[in-house]
């Protein structure tokens, strides 16, 4: 057994999974409340990565930031999350809310339209070039080893821990706060929640804010770990995040996190161990999705919807 390869792929899978998990959370929360597949979510993630990049530039760039590298990273996270949270609220307000009572296909098409709009706006504004986070210059990437087989870098540690931290915060918000209780009530029965005095519009806006902010954090993480961002990066990442949400059981917050890590690990181990895996890792990821649908259509932690007949 090549333990070095095994642990290497494990760390890579967890890092990638952390990013997918953050994207999947947005998908699952919006679906839980609106039963809407927000296909623009991957592009919000891309915008988050770009906001992080421009904040870094504004702070003086990776070579000479006006604040310390780690503070710059914290500011990049905070601003990207705020901007994208606002963007999510705006998208909901103008693209989805007017269609809330329309047939379900209408907001779905609207979501695809918003996705293409965001992608092309990014292309128009920032061009198709790669933008470089230059994490090495910014925070000085260091690699730590345990024995001869286990290696992990400080950026990977940051990514995994920020992802877990944000998930815990989200879980606390949903389970311990009044707004969280309102979110759960809206998800369970929107009409009944409204009759109980819950402002549905506000709850939905807050859900979009949270989901989009998490996606932005994922975008900044991507830039920090993999170095480069580009205008079309949201499509594939969004698709993987959506797959993670479905594999975990769409509508389930723990399921989204579990699904994210599972997809990340599948991709990493497929690259490491399966034939042609480095080129065709996506083949194995989406094969997993199909197998999951065949074995457990509701996903790992999803529960079947009981319909009154």
């Amino acid at each position: 057994m090549n333990w070095s390869l095994f642990f290497g792929e494990l760390v890579s899978g967890l890092t990638l999974g952390s990013i997918y998990a953050l994207i999947a959370l947005g998908y699952t929360m919006v679906y839980g409340i609106l039963k809407l597949l927000n296909f623009a979510h991957g592009d919000v993630y891309m915008i988050g990565a770009f906001v992080g990049f421009f904040i870094l530039e504004w702070l003086g760039g990776p070579l000479s930031p006006v604040v310390t590298g780690w503070l710059a990273v914290a500011i990049m996270f905070a601003v990207a999350m705020l901007v994208c949270g606002g963007l999510g609220v705006g998208i909901e307000r103008f693209a989805y809310r007017p269609l809330r009572d329309a047939p379900r296909i209408a907001p779905l098409i609207s979501a695809l339209g918003v996705s293409i709009f965001l992608q092309n706006s990014a292309l128009l504004l920032w061009g198709p070039q790669f933008r470089d986070y230059n994490t090495f210059d910014l925070i000085g990437v260091k690699s730590y080893s345990i024995g001869n087989n286990f290696y992990i870098s400080n950026v990977q540690i940051l990514t995994i821990s920020v992802s877990i931290g944000l998930t815990i915060v989200l879980a606390l918000v949903v389970s311990r706060t009044r707004t969280g209780k309102a979110m759960r009530a809206t998800s369970f029965d929107r009409d009944a929640a409204e009759m109980m005095g819950i402002s549905i519009d506000r709850v939905i806006s807050f859900t979009f804010f949270l989901g989009s902010a998490l996606a932005a954090a994922g975008g900044v993480m991507f830039g920090l770990v993999f170095g480069q961002i580009f205008s079309l990066m949201g499509f594939t990442a969004g698709l993987k995040g959506f797959t993670a949400a479905v594999v975990g059981g769409i509508g389930s917050i723990p399921g989204a996190v579990l699904g994210g890590f599972l997809i990340g690990l599948t991709e990493a181990f497929a690259t490491g161990y399966l034939p042609g895996g480095s080129v065709y890792a996506n083949l194995y990821v989406f094969a997993l999705l199909i197998v999951m649908f065949l074995i457990r259509p509701t996903g790992l932690l999803g529960s079947p919807v009981i319909q009154k007949v």
Partner: protein, 393 residues
């Protein structure tokens, strides 16, 4: 009533045909077939049009812009010293973008249908050369690339007499690379990662075969050009690997790979790129980085002049595009001696090009063999010293 309906339909059809015929008569003249296109006489006039195909934007823009700068450097110098002027018709190929080669094909079609264009400089990538062959050859245009190095694109006979290049082919590059790895660096364990494109896989195959023949243990893998996460594939590279060879075209990806190698504790492993990675982005990775590149003469006074006019940046990758422009414009000049030229004449003139070593930026004479390759075609090896590539072989 039925007769009235039939009459109305007939009248509409006649009106439609008439409108179409009128439209065709009014429309600007376009090239209608290959033989018409290549034999159509064009009045050369005071300003001659040359197509310039390069990745102005997209993932490969950093090297594309080098090529554009060098081609324009030639154009500006030429226009200053000649009464007849040259004007480039620019087409962005967006090499490496998600659209694949579609943008390059669109650009080639646009150049083909522009009757004033007599020859083309570019495109940059071998895949693009393959993809644009139909459009450029169909329009009778000759084209000269300053960076497409896949061995087969000149040898497969598909574009003989139409396509030429001012860079040596991969067969020459692979020999220089494998010789340097085995004879100079004396390495025994090498890992090759291609990027699944024609240029990359062709070069990787050749280097792999030559290294194996010299007793080197060679691992092989591939990545997609769209990929940004290389951590999983880096984990697969055995820890005792001495050098990773990356025959890639996108310097930002090469940099990302090198950075991820470092972050995974592999900073001791040497990296070697191909001509596509000959860029400050790749050399900035440190002293463990090598590259193979065209045999440009850094001592040429034009390199110094270019550097001076471009903020101190020599952008050597674009140098062969200067020579490509030199070849195309020279051919147009000769074809236009009587004031008129056809694309076929320009192609014939490209084929018989002879540029002396002293006049060639490459530091060697430029003349083409029957396949469209340069007759003399050595490749240089460079080593990154303090973030700058220095020729070592």
């Amino acid at each position: 009533m039925r007769k009235l309906l039939v009459a109305a339909v007939l009248a509409a059809a006649v009106a439609g045909l008439a409108t179409a015929a009128w439209g065709a008569a009014k429309a600007p003249k376009r090239v209608s077939s290959a033989s018409n296109a290549e034999n159509a006489l064009v009045k050369c006039g005071k300003t001659r049009l040359v197509g310039l195909m390069a990745p102005f934007t997209g993932p490969a823009a950093s090297i594309g812009v080098n090529q554009v700068h060098w081609a324009n450097f030639f154009k500006n110098a030429y226009n200053r010293s000649h009464k007849k002027k040259i004007k480039f018709v620019n087409e962005d190929t967006m090499l490496g973008s998600a659209n694949g080669t579609a943008e390059a094909v669109k650009g080639a079609q646009a150049l083909g249908s522009n009757r004033g264009v007599l020859g083309v400089v570019g495109p940059a990538g071998s895949n693009e050369v393959k993809a644009t062959t139909g459009a450029l050859k169909g329009a009778g245009l000759g084209w000269v690339s300053g960076s497409a190095t896949n061995t087969q694109i000149t040898l497969d006979g598909t574009r003989t007499g139409y396509f030429f290049r001012t860079v040596p082919p991969d067969s020459s590059q692979s020999k220089s690379v494998s010789a340097y790895i085995t004879a100079t660096l004396k390495l025994k364990r090498v890992y090759i990662i291609d990027d699944q494109e024609a240029y990359s896989t062709g070069l990787a195959d050749e280097v792999q075969a030559q290294l194996k023949a010299k007793g080197v243990t060679v691992g092989r893998d591939g990545v997609s050009q769209q990929q940004s996460d290389f951590s999983s594939i880096i984990n697969k590279i055995p820890r005792n690997t001495q050098l990773v060879y990356l025959p890639w075209q996108l310097p930002p990806k090469g940099k990302a790979f090198g950075q991820q190698m470092k972050s995974l504790g592999r900073s001791g492993t040497k990296l070697m790129g191909s001509d596509g990675l000959f860029d400050p982005l790749f050399s900035s990775l440190g002293n463990n980085v090598y590259d193979s590149f065209f045999p440009l003469n850094p001592a040429d006074k034009r390199v110094a002049a270019f550097k001076k006019s471009h903020g101190g940046n020599s952008e050597l990758f674009g140098g062969p595009s200067y020579v490509a422009a030199q070849v195309v414009v020279g051919a147009i000049d000769r074809a236009c001696k009587d004031g008129k030229a056809t694309r076929a004449e320009v192609r014939r003139q490209i084929k018989t090009t002879k540029i002396r070593a002293s006049a060639s930026l490459l530091g060697l004479p430029v003349a083409f063999d029957r396949h469209g390759d340069m007759i003399k075609k050595p490749f240089g090896i460079y080593h990154s010293v303090k973030g700058v590539f220095v020729r070592v072989a």
